[in-house]
Amino acid sequence: MYIINYIKTVFSTVRSMLVGMRRTGYYFTHHKEIITEQYPDNRDTLKMADRFKGEVVMPHDEKNEHRCTGCTACELACPNGTIKVITKFDITPEGKKKKAIDKLVYHLELCTMCNLCIVACPSDAIKMAQTFEHSVFDRNELTKVLNNPGSKIMDGVE
């Protein structure tokens, strides 16, 4: 009796393995089922999702103007101290003092892409960019100033 059971087990094991191997063989011969993307080779055509959180950027228009008022809401919302807002006072044509940003320093090396600064911003001055290849040789390059040199606040943004 033992020997019959033993032989039965051997056959059922071989059969169960062949069932699995038939499935792997199916994928071996059906190339249309392959979904692998050849990443570094498909860089030109690779499109990230619209909402992909790659890094924080500040969009500027063609007149080199941004929407940041320097309210430091993003700095307060950030859990890691990634953003530092350095403000200055501009003199308006009417001779009044007006608060504006001197630099918006962004530490990419500290950022966890949690999106809290974007949500906190009342004037939609910053947004997430879809870049993702952030490796550099020197980590100082990861500390970025988001506003362009010589940029101004857009008219009508308070």
């Binding site: 169960s16 069932v19 699995g20 792997t24 999702a49 959180k53 919302a77 859990p79 809290l116």
Partner: protein
């Protein structure tokens, strides 16, 4: 590997470890070992091939998340919790957001609640898919890993579209969800459901039906009903032993009481029962998704909340069912903008504690099967 009685170079005898005897072998598995997921360090005392004792050493990835949370505001601390159990990060975030809402008595809009459940169930499927591939890989079958990751990739793409990230989403905020769902969300989820149902049978062919796989799983790592309760096991580990422990059924939250699904319970008590639990749980998650995906109510995705959240003085607790078991958040508030103390009850820690109990007396080759079915995520244990 060394003998406890081995004479080391300076001539002194290495004393036997506590509880060990002369002649025992001590093996260190981990912290960097391919068969342990992450940095789990197991000190195994062996007598020949038989395990006498398994001692988990923790703390290799301890980041003091609970202490960190004390200096973060109630909006900020949620993102840290996705770094604990990174495979069910949505569900961790969900627990924290709900705990804050409980304290602030924020009414979450119906749309946000449905989106949250959909995301939770997608995360649960993604987590089980990864576990299934990794489990089969532990036992020597490499192919299923690619098959499960094909489906998991679809979920990751859905998450990327809607939340903007693939693993640590930070999508749940107190009051709802951070952004509305992507216009393609419903279509992509339906595609995924179709694909999943077409391909789940493949796993039966490749893994479940395989006799070698069954022989390595059946009768291995027996957790009796009493042990599962006394060690505080939750999730698939306890449900494999016949203990009803699904938080979604026992303490319904966020509208789970209105959804039709079965609590999956197996009475096999062994590794194979825990394996089957997870396979069947994925199908239940699909059932939940199918019920909700066409019935997402219109409306706001986030309730109006104050800019600065302040919890009233007191303590608040909320539990949810993650892919691994019951996850609890306990917030003690002094009335300020940051919590006074936060305690996380993570399922992995309790599930790991039973490993020594079930491994004693079994062969070392079975340890991988036991550890695999406990589904340990190490950052969840160490925090």
């Amino acid at each position: 590997m060394y003998r406890t009685t081995e004479i080391i170079s300076d001539g002194t005898k290495n004393p036997p470890l506590e509880g060990g005897e002369a002649g025992d072998f001590i093996i260190n598995v981990g912290p960097q070992h391919p068969a342990t997921h992450g940095v789990l360090h197991l000190v195994i005392t062996l007598n020949g091939e038989t395990i006498k004792k398994v001692e988990p050493h923790l703390g290799y990835i301890h980041r003091s998340i609970e202490k960190m949370c004390e200096s973060l505001t109630y909006r900020q601390f949620i993102y840290v919790t996705s770094r604990m159990d990174y495979l069910s990060s949505h569900i961790n975030n969900h627990a924290c957001a709900m705990c804050v809402e409980k304290g602030m008595q924020i009414e979450v809009p119906a749309r946000a609640r449905v989106i949250r459940i959909l995301m939770d169930e997608l995360t649960r499927i993604a987590s089980h898919e990864l576990w299934l591939g990794a489990m089969a890989m532990d036992l020597g079958a490499f192919t299923p890993f690619f098959h499960t990751f094909r489906e998991r990739e679809m979920i990751n793409e859905i998450m990327e579209d809607t939340c903007g990230a693939r693993l640590t989403m930070n999508y749940m905020v107190p009051g709802g969800v951070m952004q509305d769902i992507h216009p393609d969300f419903q279509r992509k989820v339906k595609d995924f459901v179709k694909q999943f149902q077409r391909k789940i049978g493949e796993m039966d062919e490749i893994v479940t039906g395989n006799t070698i796989f069954q022989n390595r799983m059946k009768g291995v790592g027996i957790i009796t009903r009493e042990d599962a309760i006394s060690f505080g096991c939750t999730g698939p580990v306890s449900r494999g032993s016949g203990v009803s422990s699904d938080t979604r059924k026992l303490f319904p939250y966020e509208g789970y009481e209105n959804i039709e699904f079965d609590e999956v319970i197996e009475t096999g008590c062994d590794s194979f029962a825990r394996y089957m639990i997870r396979i069947r749980e994925m199908q239940q998650s699909i059932r939940i998704i199918e019920q909700l995906i066409d019935n997402i109510p219109e409306g706001d995705f986030q309730a109006k909340t104050k800019a600065v959240l302040k919890l009233p003085k007191g303590d608040f607790f909320q539990r949810v069912e993650t892919a691994r078991g019951q996850f609890g958040v306990y917030i003690v508030s002094e009335g300020g903008t940051t919590p006074y103390r936060i305690k996380f009850r993570s399922p992995g820690f309790s599930n790991l504690s039973i490993l020594d109990h079930i491994a004693r007396g079994s062969k070392i080759g079975d340890l991988v099967a036991m550890m695999g079915t406990l589904d340990l995520v190490i950052p969840d244990i160490d925090r």
